[in-house]
């Protein structure tokens, strides 16, 4: 039997060359120290796949139309317990995804993993982060309940404050100057086709680049080697190097050529990845069953009693909307856009070989201030909403 199976595998491999692909994917040497921090990337991937799967199945019922969208989800809520769980998983894994992808980014920033030759890993990662935010915002429009409608009104209206082409952009998104049937269908198309069509190939590129350059680890993986290189001493040989290159592809700096200790990606890193991911999926499932996805009353533009409350991930920007005086409203676009541009430029600004976060104050201090700024805006915003 085993002979038959390995024969079939060999036949298949001769034609499809899967063995080499598997070897490359699974037997990568990864740093031993700090490995739990490196589970954030795979957790992000698992949560995005959760979005893909639940999202595909939600289209089996959801109708992207101003007259039917709310009604179809209300039907789901009233008559379909399992469907409600699917929608709950879609919502809660999106919330947790935003959190985890943020942590993944902070970790990469902290450990300086964006340095040569991994600049494009970072750049694709920043674009992926922006695309995931775009998915979150467009997804929030789709239920077309009060929360969704007023989120849609405010978000599309922010685009109107773009200098010169603002009202054009708003009309492009809304399909006219005002909110209408086209607004919802367009946003649905963007959410299920346009953004995923960019997102998923870019994820593949992000992963391919990861395998191309290997995981660099953080400075803790080089401690010791770094010090011994200062003098004439020969650095200690790596303790363990399970396989040969592709790791590391090109040592760009001899001090940082390779971590001291490495082990196989599979099954050592995948074990840790699996533990973290399964933990997150269980949390998502519990939240989906226990809380589920809310559905407020159907959208009503004539309300004078509804108090629009922004999605939590939108809270820092919403607080900025409140704080920015009327003469400076375009700041609400300039600040996030400038932030994204700075993130994209980061690997080209911080170019030295130093990876120790405590030796890189030029990027760590502004980075910490940016995070602090966002946290303070969030706290101000949540304080305001709770006191309302």
């Amino acid at each position: 039997m085993q002979r038959l199976l390995s024969g079939a595998y060999n036949w298949f491999d001769e034609r499809a060359a899967v063995r080499n692909l598997l070897r490359k994917g699974l037997y990568e040497a990864v740093p031993v120290r700090g490995a739990w921090f490196y589970t954030l990337g795979s957790a992000t991937l698992v949560l995005i796949l959760l979005q893909l799967i639940t999202g595909i199945f939600l289209t089996l019922l959801y109708v992207p139309s101003v007259t039917e969208a709310w009604a179809s989800l209300n039907y789901l809520k009233q008559h379909d317990a399992f469907g409600s769980i699917v929608r709950g998983i879609h919502l809660w894994s999106a919330y947790i995804l935003l959190f985890v992808i943020g942590l993944h980014m902070v970790r990469t920033f902290f450990s300086g993993s964006y340095k040569r030759p991994r600049e494009l890993n970072w750049v694709t990662g920043v674009i992926l982060f922006v695309l995931v935010l775009g998915m979150a915002i467009t997804g929030a429009f789709l239920p077309w309940d009060q929360a969704a409608y007023w989120t849609a009104v405010v978000v599309t209206n922010i685009a109107a404050y773009t200098p010169l082409i603002g009202s054009f952009l708003r009309a492009l998104w809304r399909g006219g100057d005002t909110m209408g049937p086209i607004t919802l269908v367009r946003t649905f198309g963007i959410h299920v086709w346009l953004l995923p069509a960019i997102l998923f190939p870019l994820i593949l590129a992000h992963l391919a680049l990861l395998r191309k350059h290997g995981e660099f680890g953080s400075y803790i993986n080089y401690r010791g080697a770094f010090r011994s290189r200062e003098g004439v001493d020969v650095p200690p040989a790596p303790k363990q190097r399970p396989i040969e290159p592709p790791y590391p592809a090109v040592p760009t700096d001899e001090l940082w050529a390779a971590p001291l200790e490495t082990e196989d990606f599979y099954p050592h890193q995948t074990f840790k990845d699996g533990i973290v991911s399964v933990g997150l999926v269980i949390v998502v499932f519990i939240l989906a069953v226990a809380i589920g996805a809310p559905l407020e009353a159907i959208a009503d533009p004539s309300t004078t009693s509804y108090v629009p409350v922004p999605e939590w991930f939108f809270l820092p920007l919403d607080q900025l909307l409140l704080l920015v005086p009327q003469q400076l409203i375009p700041l609400i676009l300039v600040l996030p856009a400038g932030g994204v541009l700075l993130l994209l430029a980061l690997p080209f600004i911080d170019r030295g070989p130093e990876r120790n976060p405590f030796e890189r104050p030029a990027v760590m201090v502004p980075g910490a201030f940016a995070v602090l700024f966002i946290v303070i805006l969030t706290l101000l915003g949540s304080g305001r909403l709770f006191n309302q």
Binding site: L172, G175, G176, T304, L321
Partner: protein, 163 residues
């Protein structure tokens, strides 16, 4: 060795050019209709409708009164969508305000205690005539295009100024 006329394309250059031209033709033939499709709602004139708001004879002086009017939702739908109208009477002058905040288009409401229109999103304030008097709003509250027939108010589903 054969001499080649430098003005003539080599086969390689010709084939390269052909491939690029083929790609460009496909891009143009697909791109023009798609870009036109995306932009077409922007060039279409939104149809406007007159709608009776109701009798405003009983609207008290200095007290904004809310009416709700239905307009066709637009495009292919046969459904209607509600719009809120605040009728303000002052010295026999009527102002017909919408509930659309000029800041982020959130729904404002008349606050009796403040004697101002208040936006719940970011705290925008407007006085009784719809002038922006506090918070982030950059412009007054939009006013509906309207006419008054005796004491009956009619509005059109567009504002006097673009917002």
């Amino acid at each position: 060795m054969a001499h080649r006329d430098p003005r003539r394309l080599t086969r390689r250059q010709f084939d390269l050019l052909g491939t690029q031209v083929a790609g460009a033709v496909v891009a143009v033939l697909l791109g023009i209709p798609i870009i036109g499709f995306i932009l077409s709602p922007l060039f279409r004139r939104q149809p406007t409708y007159w709608q009776q708001v109701g009798d405003i004879g009983s609207v008290p002086d200095g007290q904004p009164t809310k009416f709700v009017v239905s307009f066709p939702q637009g495009e292919w739908t046969s459904s209607k969508v509600n719009a809120a109208v605040y009728v303000v009477k002052q010295n026999n002058n009527y102002t017909v305000l919408s509930n659309v905040c000029s800041h982020m288009q959130c729904p404002v409401h008349w606050d009796d205690a403040l004697r101002q229109f208040l936006c719940p999103c970011h705290g925008g304030l407007y006085d009784i005539t719809g002038q922006n008097v506090g918070g982030p709003p950059p412009k007054p509250l939009p006013q509906y295009v309207h006419r008054i027939d005796g004491t009956t108010l009619y509005i059109e589903n567009r504002f006097t100024e673009n917002i």
